[in-house]
C-alpha cells in the first residue's frame, strides 16, 4: 500500500431521492494498490455511493476527484473511459458471443472499420492470462461457469487502462472455490497497483481480502478503518449502530417457557435444505406451538430461508418433511395445502393488492387454497372478515375500503389476517413489524404469542433482536447465507450473545490469504 495521495477521493457526497436521504455528507477515499471494502446493511447507501461515483446518479452535493482532478461522470461508460470500471453482481455480458468478443465488443481492434478477429482473440488471450485464466477464447461465454464469466467481466473492465475497479457483490453467486479464485485475481490486480472497491455482504470475505473498510449506516459515514484494527465484532456493531450492552438493557421481558418437544414429531423438518446462490443447506425443526426466531443481518439469507420453506423458491438441495412425511414444496400452493402461510417482508410488492378492498385482500389466500372454482359464500366471508377486523383491531373497521387507504400497520394486519383465515399450522412472518408504529407493533407481538399458545408454529423473522428474543422459544442465527447456530432462548441468551454469534459464528469458513 502506498501512503501517498489516494487515487480516488469522494468528499461530502449527498444525494436525496424524493422522501429519502440516501447519502448525507459521505467521504470515501481509495488508494492505488488496496482492496477497500464498503460495508453496511441493505439500504445503508453502498449502491447509491457507487452509482454516484460512476455517474448513474447525479449528486446533490460533494466533489469527486480522480488522480487529483475533479470529475463528474455522465454514466458508467464515461467513468470506464476515465479508468473507473464496475463489475456488477449479475454478469452483464452476452452469453451468445465468444469470450474474446465479450472482452472487446464495442472497442474491437479494427482496420478501416473491419474487425480484426485474429488480433481480438490474441489480445483477449493475453488479458485472461493476466488473470491466470487459460480458456478457449473462441468458445461461447455461456458455456462457461458463472465464475469464469465473472472473470471475463473483470477482464473487460480492466482492459480500459483501469485505475479503479468496483466490484459490486461479485461473490454472491459464486461457491467457495470460485470465490477463492476471484480473490486470487483481486490480490494480483491490487499488487499491480489497481485500486479495488469491494462491496459484499460476507464478513469473512472482507477479513480475507480487504486492506481497509469504510462503513456506512443509513446513508451516513460511520468511519474508515484499517481491517486489522477493526475486529469483526466491532464491524457488526458499527453496521447496526447500537452498542450491544444498550441492547441488553432494553431486553427486560420475561423468558418464555420452552416445553420439551424433542421427542414429538416436528411440524416442519428440513434436512440440509438449500439453494445455490440463495442459502446454504440448513437443518431446522419447527414444532407445533413453537416460535422460532430468525436473526441475522439484512441480506444474511433470512428471507431466502422463508421462501424455501414456503416453496416460493425451489430448493436444489436436501429435503423438507411436513408431519414427518416427505413434502417437496415446489410452489406456494403446495405449501398452503400443507398449512404453511407466509407474510412477506415486502408487503407492498408481494403481499397487499392495494386496489382491492380489505375484504378481498383477506380472502385471497383462502380462496387460493380452496381453488377458484369454489367461491366462498358471502355470509362466510363477512363472518371471517368481521372476526379478524375485530381480533386484530384493524382501523378503519370498514372491510370494503381499498387497502391502499390504510396505514402501513393496518395493511400489515390485513396481510396477517389473510393468512390467519386459512388457519395455517406454520406461519412465516418476515419482518412483520417493520415500518409500523409502536402500538401496532405491540399488538402484532401479542398476537404471535397468542397464536403460538393456541398451537400454531411461527417462524418469526426480524432485524430487531429484542423483539426476536421476546417472542421466540428458539433463535436460529443466519450469517453469510448460512444458518450458523440455533440457540435455545433460555436465561443465558441475550442480545449480546446473539450479536456475537452473528458476528463470528460457530464455524468459520476460512478464506485463505
Amino acid at each position: 500500500m502506498t501512503g501517498s495521495r489516494p487515487v480516488l477521493t469522494m468528499t461530502g457526497i449527498s444525494k436525496t431521492f424524493p422522501g429519502v436521504r440516501a447519502l448525507h455528507d459521505v467521504d470515501f477515499r481509495l488508494f492505488a494498490g488496496e482492496v477497500h471494502a464498503l460495508m453496511g446493511e441493505n439500504g445503508a447507501g453502498k449502491s447509491t455511493l457507487i452509482k454516484a461515483l460512476t455517474g448513474v446518479y447525479e449528486i446533490d452535493e460533494g466533489t469527486i476527484t480522480l488522480d487529483g482532478e475533479q470529475v463528474a461522470f455522465s454514466g458508467p461508460m464515461q467513468a470506464a473511459a476515465h479508468g473507473v470500471s464496475t463489475v456488477y453482481q449479475e454478469v452483464n455480458l452476452c452469453p451468445n458471443l465468444s469470450v474474446a468478443e465479450n472482452v472487446f465488443i464495442g472497442r474491437e481492434p479494427r482496420r478501416l472499420g473491419v474487425i480484426r478477429w485474429g488480433e481480438t482473440r490474441r489480445r483477449a488471450r493475453e488479458l485472461l492470462a493476466r488473470l491466470d485464466l487459460d480458456i478457449d477464447v473462441t468458445a461461447l461465454l455461456g458455456t462457461y461457469s458463472l465464475a469464469v464469466q465473472q472473470m471475463v467481466a473483470i477482464a473487460r473492465a480492466i482492459d480500459v487502462r483501469a485505475r479503479v475497479l468496483i466490484l459490486d457483490e461479485p461473490t454472491s453467486s459464486l461457491d467457495a472455490d470460485e470465490a477463492a479464485q476471484l480473490f486470487r485475481v483481486m490480490r494480483q490486480l491490487r499488487d499491480e497497483g489497481l485500486g479495488i472497491l469491494f462491496v459484499t455482504h460476507f464478513l469473512d470475505q472482507v477479513y480475507g481480502i480487504a486492506d481497509r473498510i469504510t462503513v456506512l449506516r443509513n446513508g451516513t459515514l460511520v468511519g474508515e478503518y484499517r481491517t486489522e484494527e477493526l475486529p469483526q465484532f466491532s464491524l457488526v456493531e458499527k453496521m447496526i449502530g447500537k452498542e450491544l450492552d444498550v441492547l441488553e438493557r432494553l431486553d427486560e421481558q420475561p423468558r418464555r417457557v420452552v416445553s420439551s418437544r424433542a421427542d414429538a414429531t416436528a411440524l416442519v423438518d428440513t434436512a440440509e435444505l438449500g439453494r445455490k446462490g440463495a442459502v446454504a443447506p440448513f437443518t431446522l425443526r419447527i414444532h407445533a406451538g413453537e416460535v422460532v426466531g430468525l436473526a441475522g443481518l439484512l441480506g444474511s439469507g433470512r428471507t431466502e430461508v422463508a421462501r424455501l420453506l414456503f416453496g416460493a423458491d425451489r430448493a436444489d438441495h436436501g429435503q423438507i418433511r411436513v408431519d414427518g412425511g416427505k413434502a417437496p414444496l415446489r410452489n406456494p400452493v403446495q405449501a398452503i395445502d400443507r398449512g404453511i402461510g407466509f407474510c412477506s417482508e415486502n408487503r407492498r410488492a408481494e403481499g397487499i393488492v392495494p386496489d382491492l378492498s380489505v375484504r378481498e385482500n383477506m380472502m385471497l389466500a383462502m380462496q387460493a387454497a380452496r381453488g377458484w372454482l369454489r367461491p366462498i359464500p358471502r355470509r362466510r366471508q363477512d363472518e371471517l372478515v368481521d372476526r379478524y377486523v375485530q381480533a386484530l383491531s384493524i382501523r378503519p373497521a370498514n372491510p370494503d375500503l381499498p387497502v391502499r387507504n390504510l396505514s402501513g400497520g393496518n395493511q400489515q394486519k390485513v396481510l396477517l389476517a389473510r393468512w390467519l383465515i386459512t388457519e395455517p399450522r406454520l406461519l412465516i412472518l418476515d419482518e412483520p413489524t417493520r415500518g409500523i408504529d409502536v402500538g401496532a407493533k405491540a399488538e402484532i407481538q401479542k398476537l404471535v404469542v397468542e397464536l403460538s399458545d393456541g398451537g400454531m408454529a411461527v417462524l418469526f423473522i426480524s432485524a430487531e433482536l429484542e423483539e426476536v428474543l421476546r417472542l421466540s422459544h428458539r433463535v436460529a442465527v443466519m450469517r453469510d447465507r448460512t444458518m450458523v447456530a440455533q440457540l435455545t432462548n433460555d436465561d443465558t441468551l441475550d442480545a449480546d450473545r446473539v450479536m456475537r454469534t452473528i458476528a463470528s459464528g460457530t464455524h468459520r469458513k476460512e478464506v485463505q490469504r
Partner: protein, 330 residues
C-alpha cells in the same frame, strides 16, 4: 496455473458443431430433399433446376436476409410482404407516369428503409412491441398499394424488361437472371456486415442480452432502429426484384410473404429469441422452401398447398430443435 487449467477442465466446452447444429441440420435436410428429387425424377438432376430455385426465390432471399438482421436482435418484422408489394406498386405506377427508370429506382429504394426507420424508432423510443409496430406498418403499406391502384399495373419500361429477360448463362444453356446475382450480392454484403463490422456484432449482442449490451456501452437503440431500416431496405430491393420478375405491380401480391420469410429464417437456424444465427443459414432456409415447391411441382399430382403443410411441419421441427439445443445450452 494449476487452478486455471482446472477451470478449463471444469467448464463445459462445446464442440464447434453445437452452435452450428441448426444450420447443419438444415444443410442435411436440403441435401436429403435434393437426393430424393434426383432419385425420383430424372430431370431433377438438371443444374437448371437449382438455378430456377434461385430465380424463383431471389426476392424472397433478399427479404429473408433483412429479416435475419431483425430476428437476430430478437425482434420481428411483419411489414416485409406489404413493403415488397408497395415498392413494386410505386415503381410500376411511377414508370407508368413516365419517370425515368433511374429516378424510380431511387424513390422505390428509399420508401422501404424510411418506413423501417420509422417503425424502428417507434419500437425503440416508445417501447412498442415489434410485433405491433410492424403490424401497423404492414397494414399501412398494404393500404398504400390499393391507394395507388386497386388493379395491377403492367411495367413496359426498357430497363425493367432487360433486367427481367436478360439471362446470364454457361455454354450448356443453364442460366440465372440478373436478380439472382443481385440477391447473392446482398447475401455476401450482409454476411460481411454481420461478421466484420461493429454494427453486425452489436446486432448479435442486442439479441443475446440487450440489458447487458446497454451496460457494456453498446448503442442498443441505434442498432435496433438500424435493423428495421436494413429490413426495410431489403424489402425494397426484394420489391424491385419482384417487379423485375413479374413486370408489374399488383396490390395483392406477396400477401402473407412475411410468414414465408420468417419460416425460411427460422428453418435456416436463426433463433427466434435472437442472438444466434447466420445469413448462410437463411440462404439454406430459402433453398429448402424452394426445393419443396420444386418437388411438389415435379410430382404434378400434389396440390400446391402441400408446400404449406410441409413448411408447417418443418418449422415446428426446427423450433423444437432450437428449444432442445437451447436447454442444453443453459
Amino acid at each position: 496455473m494449476s487452478s486455471a487449467s482446472s477451470t478449463t477442465a471444469r467448464a463445459w466446452r462445446p464442440s464447434l458443431a453445437r452452435r452450428h447444429v441448426p444450420v447443419l441440420a438444415t444443410l442435411a435436410l436440403l441435401l436429403v430433399m435434393y437426393a430424393v428429387g434426383v432419385s425420383q425424377y430424372r430431370a431433377f438432376s438438371n443444374v437448371q433446376v437449382v438455378f430456377n430455385v434461385f430465380i424463383d426465390n431471389g426476392f424472397l432471399l433478399v427479404v429473408a436476409v433483412g429479416m435475419t438482421f431483425v430476428i437476430l436482435t430478437g425482434g420481428i418484422d411483419l411489414s416485409v410482404g406489404s413493403v415488397v408489394a408497395m415498392t413494386a406498386m410505386v415503381s410500376a405506377s411511377l414508370l407508368q407516369s413516365g419517370l425515368p427508370a433511374a429516378l424510380v429506382l431511387v424513390v422505390a429504394l428509399l420508401i422501404g428503409p424510411t418506413l423501417g426507420f420509422l417503425m424502428g424508432c417507434a419500437i425503440h423510443f416508445f417501447d412498442i412491441q415489434p410485433f405491433i409496430a410492424t403490424l401497423a406498418g404492414m397494414f399501412f403499406a398494404r393500404g398504400m398499394c390499393t391507394f395507388i391502384s386497386d388493379a395491377s399495373i403492367p411495367i413496359t419500361d426498357g430497363f425493367w424488361t432487360t433486367m427481367s429477360q436478360e439471362r446470364i448463362g454457361d455454354p450448356r444453356g443453364n442460366f440465372v437472371s440478373i436478380s439472382v446475382l443481385i440477391a447473392l450480392a446482398v447475401v455476401l454484403v450482409a454476411a460481411y456486415v454481420l461478421t466484420y463490422t461493429r454494427f453486425g456484432r452489436n446486432v448479435y449482442a442486442v439479441g443475446g442480452n440487450s440489458q447487458s449490451a446497454l451496460l457494456m456501452g453498446l448503442p442498443v437503440g441505434r442498432t435496433r432502429i438500424a435493423v428495421y431500416t436494413v429490413s426495410g431496405l431489403c424489402s425494397a430491393i426484394g420489391g424491385i426484384l419482384l417487379s423485375f420478375y413479374t413486370l408489374s405491380g399488383a396490390p395483392l401480391i406477396a400477401v402473407g410473404m412475411e410468414l414465408d420469410v420468417i419460416a425460411a429464417v427460422v428453418i435456416g437456424g436463426t433463433v427466434l429469441t435472437g442472438g444466434s444465427g447466420y445469413v448462410f443459414g437463411t440462404v439454406l432456409g430459402v433453398l429448402v422452401l424452394g426445393v419443396i415447391q420444386t418437388l411438389i411441382t415435379f410430382d404434378g399430382s400434389l396440390n400446391s398447398w402441400w408446400t404449406r403443410i410441409v413448411i408447417g411441419g418443418l418449422l415446428f421441427a426446427f423450433i423444437l430443435l432450437q428449444r432442445l439445443i437451447g436447454i442444453r445450452f443453459k
